[in-house]
């Protein structure tokens, strides 16, 4: 205002996370650990483009996710020939498309993990970004996919969470066939509205659910209560099975779902106590799920899901008219990471450099020997940052301190003098030989 020299001052873009180096360092460690867990189970990595054709993104009617489309700023008449492209909103649809497209070049069961960003143009809010990392692990097979994978995949997901320094995690499990079979047996017609209402049980409570079921889904009070009775069932083991049976509803799909969920829970019995919980109110927003569904939560917090997944028997195959059932999960990395930043979980995160050693430049005349010393240590596997100018020692030490680099190396300020190295944590300083020194 009145300042004619006003310059364009950059500011954060709402919904797009950007971390300082010290937090990015932790995020990279997380990604390395998750990747290592996924590879320990023999899953290969793939990446897909950031974009898919809109036909692919919308094939399963995912219209409730906000898709970003691309336009060239300098678009011309040629663009009419271009397919309409949108940024993917998850990694499951691109993976299913990839599997169908490269069908002849893949070995089945095709087991892959994928760590990439996704985009959704939703209104940003706490823990919800418009651009975010997901770490997905899935398997797709031809014709039939053994139910064992419905247990193995959540177990791998749990191992990945355990590899991170985070509060305890709980996996909540269900199977879509249970709720759908049960509601069908009750004669519920608008199953979509009913399941969406039941899914909110944790948020709106039993009274809210009954209100929603009667007023929005058009259920009678009696049917609404019966629906609620199922959704309220929780168990840490296979106890849910008898609880559902005792409700006295008979339906083939329901039975199939109960048997599947029981099998999955039994095959997860090697996980620590409290790692899993059956929760029959879970629905999941994506239409492509057909069986096992799960959500991951930080225990004893009111944060939303930090991961989710499930079985999708009809997604990949739909592109090429084959049966290609799949199951997979997605760790919401950006969401989880940003929540932990917000609660100050990483207060110890202070390293602003991967360097083990700051190499002091004692004098411009010593630049040669300083560079040589740095390279000797680098060849021995150390990460060495060289200070760029022969500034006062105090200034160079302050730089190492600000970046929390653990060791400072002093090459000889004159030929013939010894090298010295300072441990910045203990303050101890002693002579050292770059060819033999060990951290």
């Amino acid at each position: 205002m009145g300042d004619k020299n006003r310059i364009y001052k950059p500011k954060p873009i709402s919904g797009y996370a950007e971390w300082l180096p010290e937090h990015r360092m932790v995020e990279m460690e997380w990604m390395d650990k998750i990747r290592n867990v996924f590879e320990t189970y023999g899953f290969c990595n793939i990446e897909t483009p950031s974009v898919e054709e809109l036909d692919v993104l919308l094939a399963k009617g995912e219209t409730d996710k906000e898709i970003y489309t691309l336009t060239r700023l300098q678009a011309d008449e040629d663009d009419d020939k271009d397919a309409r492209l949108g940024l993917h909103f998850d990694l499951t649809v691109p993976f299913a498309r990839y599997t169908a497209q490269h069908f002849n070049d893949l070995v089945f069961p095709f087991k892959r993990y994928q760590i990439q960003r996704s985009w959704r143009g939703e209104r940003p809010q706490k823990g919800r970004y418009r651009e975010f990392y997901q770490c997905d692990i899935d398997v797709i097979n031809i014709d039939a996919l053994p139910l064992h994978f419905d247990a193995e995949i959540p177990a791998i997901m749990y191992a990945a969470y355990q590899a991170l320094d985070i509060p305890p995690v709980e996996l909540r499990l269900s199977n879509r066939k249970i709720l759908i079979g049960y509601l069908t047996a009750l004669g519920v017609e608008d199953i979509t509205t009913a399941t969406r209402t039941l899914d909110k049980l944790d948020k709106i409570g039993a009274d809210g659910v009954i209100k929603g079921l009667t007023e929005e889904a058009g259920l009678s009070e009696d049917i609404a209560q019966k629906s609620l009775a199922l959704a309220e069932i929780k168990s840490e083991d296979t106890g849910f099975y008898d609880q559902v049976k005792s409700l006295g509803i008979q339906n083939d799909l329901l039975d199939e779902g109960l048997d599947e969920l029981k099998f999955v829970v039994e095959n997860l019995s090697h996980l620590p106590k409290g790692a899993i919980k059956v929760d029959l109110s879970i629905v999941r927003g994506f239409d492509y799920y057909t069986g096992t569904i799960l959500e991951a939560y930080l225990k004893d917090t009111d944060y939303g899901a930090i991961g989710s997944g499930g079985r999708y028997d009809d997604l990949a195959g739909s592109y090429i008219n084959k049966k290609l059932p799949g199951i997979g999960v997605s760790i919401g990395l950006t969401r989880l990471f940003s929540l932990l930043i917000e609660i100050g979980h990483f207060k110890e995160a202070e390293r602003k450099s991967p360097a083990d050693i700051l190499m002091v430049l004692p004098d411009e005349a010593q630049r040669g020997v300083t560079l040589e010393t740095a390279n000797t240590l680098r060849a021995r596997g150390y990460k060495v940052e060289m200070y760029h100018a022969a500034s006062k020692l105090k200034k160079q030490l302050a730089y190492a301190e600000k970046k929390a680099i653990p060791f400072v190396w002093f090459p000889p300020f004159k030929d013939g003098k010894p090298h010295e190295v300072k441990d910045m944590n203990s303050g101890e300083q002693k002579n050292a030989d770059p060819a033999t020194w060990e951290i």
Copy 2:
């Protein structure tokens, strides 16, 4: 046509690369190696969002790069309030913006590397993608940035190329001040057109350059010849210096450029012979470069540049009205990788799984001990894929072979029998203990 059951068959999107698992595995190894080199020099990693505000992207007049803008598919009136966003076309502009925006939270000189995708809506052609990975390493300082970095950064870039299994690389160096100072001294008015023409020397030859300079840049035949004489200068050492001096043109900017380039070449003398070449025809397309410029090439090939970079003294500071000079380079990872795939460089790439071991499931009754064996080996650091069904041994072995998994483990088919492991390369099979076995 006439087929009413026609389904949507996915196909590649022009300009968007997607690799099979065996090639993605090599690409990941490349990224790990490049990251390791960058960190060995103490550079930290950052990532920036895929998008920037258009004001940021267009701040330096980069209108010749094709920018993609984003639109929400279900846009509403709220969108008017949103800033217009575009996908970044390189990593230098986002890094400069990041440095300016987080100025108070960074330690200077701020040294960072960044491995991310960029997007340009250009017409796809051999080695040119619309979405591509770049591996950038840069440093930005306050007020002044020592010229030593103009040598250190190319040396790190060279070390990164050397870490990859690729044909020999050559860095071609120049300094913008040389060509601009020289042309200014010659009285050339349309310097932009003249430098763009000279930049094409390798492609269109001396006659083509003279034609372009006289017909498009409006130079006289004499001035055109003099301009060409400078651009034709090449040397593997500081020999260029006397060659330029012998052309008899005096200009302060030219002298500054010559001194800087001489300093840089001298400070790169530790690189292997043939690693660098001064080439005064180099210009680089980006307007933000102000001094040192360089391009990387695969030697003895006619491929385009596989990397490039330079000094930009006025980019980052422009956002916050400070002096923030920088220098950096970018390795064109996708371009280099795709070229090598095309020439069959990775013909040995056959591993479709990171697994060291395929764990055979001998019998459904043995699933427990099989899983336990796999977990024992995983805890010892091995990557173990478990076969999902108790299929015939022949089938399980064929699976390991197809995925090129080097070892196959046979848990006891009955309790009390020994474990056996087969080396798939040698064919040798012997007894083994999961608690002590070593590859």
